[in-house]
Symmetry: C2
Subunit: 359 residues, 2 copies
């Protein structure tokens, strides 16, 4: 049975990427060696790393003031590395509290310096993105989460601020063009729109790194961004295979028409599914309409019967990963770059079937 992968992450990847990755595990570029057993100091890997970096720069339209790093440890490691590197004990950083991951970022930052939570939608179960933020004077940076995977909200209007903008873009990076000039640091786990789990992309503005580094804190070599900038992500053995697959995915994105094409598709998928959610009497959305994520569509069933029936129909039709996170309940359809319209159409058809039988 053909599967339709709505997993929130690790998540769907393009079939052509999977086929090439599968071949390269047996033989990379007819070298007679597997991509899993080449040295990270080999010419073959050097060229993979270079191409991956240059694809990130090209797709996100990054100026030369940005360094692109490929690290490990996930967004959870960035939650503490950012304040460890940039927030001295007496300084204040601004954070928006827009969901589970934002809250974790806030918690880690609080152990290094002062955190000012400038906006929160916690009292409404994170069902919208707070707007019109105000910032305490002299803050060091503003940290936001551009897409909240668990609650299904996404930032469509970037905050107006003079503060250096730091963004957790884990679940919507490479799904739309971004105004890169607005950002000082962007980070993203690979396992949604880019590649398999095990690699974290960090995009950092060199001038921010020079100006904003804390001066009097001892930082372990591996946790100091300057180490990885200086060594070009090769201070120690990088996650070779996750980087390689990310390169393949970015080649695919470019060939499909880049981030403009990814955004067009994301809009089409999201519009189709949200329209059904709004029209179908057996289902309802959980998020303020203007903040609805194109990546993670959260919705509830009107009755336990409808919930059970959609779950059964999904199982019978090869739809995977639709169960909502326990914080919201109901359903969550994660629709990253590689998701085909046909899979969304199938889900919509099954929702219609539920309404026809129970409505």
């Amino acid at each position: 049975m053909k599967k339709h992968n709505f997993n929130a992450g690790p998540a769907i990847l393009p079939k052509s990427v999977l086929r090439e990755a599968s071949r390269s595990i047996l033989d990379l570029h007819h070298s007679g060696l597997s991509v899993l057993e080449i040295s990270h100091r080999s010419k073959a890997f050097e060229s993979i790393l270079e191409e991956t970096k240059s694809l990130v720069k090209e797709l996100l339209n990054l100026s030369d003031d940005f360094e692109v790093l490929f690290l490990t440890g996930g967004a959870s490691t960035q939650f503490f590395m950012i304040p460890m590197n940039f927030l001295a004990e007496h300084e204040t950083a601004c954070y928006t509290d827009t969901g589970t991951w934002a809250k974790k970022a806030i918690k880690e930052a609080s152990t290094f310096g002062n955190v000012s939570v400038v906006a929160s939608s916690a009292d409404q179960n994170y069902s919208h993105i707070p707007k019109n933020l105000k910032f305490p004077k002299g803050s060091k940076y503003l940290h936001i989460t551009s897409n909240n995977t668990i609650y299904g909200t996404e930032v469509f209007k970037w905050p107006k601020t003079d503060l250096p903008l730091v963004c957790d873009m884990s679940s919507d990076i490479m799904s739309r063009p971004i105004p890169s000039e607005k950002f000082s640091l962007i980070y993203a786990g690979a396992q949604k729109n880019i590649g398999p789990a095990g690699m974290t992309m960090v995009i950092i503005r060199k001038s921010f790194l020079e100006e904003a580094m804390v001066r009097d804190r001892k930082i372990a070599t591996m946790l100091d961004y300057r180490t990885h900038v200086k060594e070009g992500s090769m201070y120690n053995t990088p996650p070779v295979f996750p980087i390689y697959v990310s390169m393949l995915t970015m080649r695919w994105i470019k060939a499909q028409g880049g981030l403009v094409a990814m955004e067009r598709r994301a809009k089409r998928r999201a519009n189709m599914l949200y329209r059904e959610i709004d029209e179908n009497p057996m289902f309802q959305g959980t998020v303020a309409k203007e903040d609805r994520s194109r990546m993670n569509v959260c919705f509830l069933a009107a009755t336990p019967q409808a919930e059970a029936m959609l779950s059964e129909l999904c199982a019978a039709n090869g739809i995977e990963g639709l169960k909502g996170h326990r914080s919201v309940g109901g359903f969550r359809a994660s629709m990253y770059n590689a998701m085909e319209m046909g899979s969304v159409q199938l889900l919509v058809n099954l929702m219609k079937e539920v309404a026809a039988k129970l409505g």
Copy 2:
């Protein structure tokens, strides 16, 4: 041309492991999903994680006092996590200085507490393992490196000590049985004897964790071993694919006869190559005989002509990765678990050819 992979790491993996990994990238266990796109919270991955843990415990003969963790960040991250978790500012830890990686571990530890370097072979370019160690009273732990990848030395007599023993086993783990009861913490990057780059195995004694944790230091959630023990390596998204391939490799090790068989093969490979080094007038070893590593065999050519000729013969015969590290020069043959005797025999034949032509 068939390749013979003597890379120091990332390194050779069993062909059958590569074949199964390649298949699972297209379709894991006939699920219709790639191993790269399954959720880390799925039953499929839960079972992979459990089997990997239980294979580690079985192969290394670990008692139930040990936890097995699958983290990221490489040995370089363990270099600082160990003192961060276990060495308070006023405490002293003992380290042996047996090569480049040991030195890096010492450097990171020094920023957290006092480090007593109880032995060093630095003045002889790390060509032997210091013995008969003595320890300052009241030390917190002893850190050793069991195999020095760059210099080609290996510890065959474990130090006699009452101190908790912490060991960087990155390049010889799973190549021989170990007296696991002697250790409090073992760590190893996967990319030599276990799997692809991107996963670090940490084996930690629960009683050590309870007794030895520093009390008054704020540690980021991701850097606190207790987080990962409590969450069973699932606090955040783990490196799914590197864990999966490591599981396949350990299944293969078990099927081959476990670590007794791995050690027997490692001895055969090493004996064959060291015998040639000792007998062949055109080559010489760089390491004290009793400390010669079975994993990384370092040797020099007697003349520049011999060095050039062996390099050319290797290139012409599909031998990869034989160039010595710049710290030692000459050649380094890394021969991990998956290395076949035929590849070692080929190298020996080429060395004989050099001697026949130049000797």
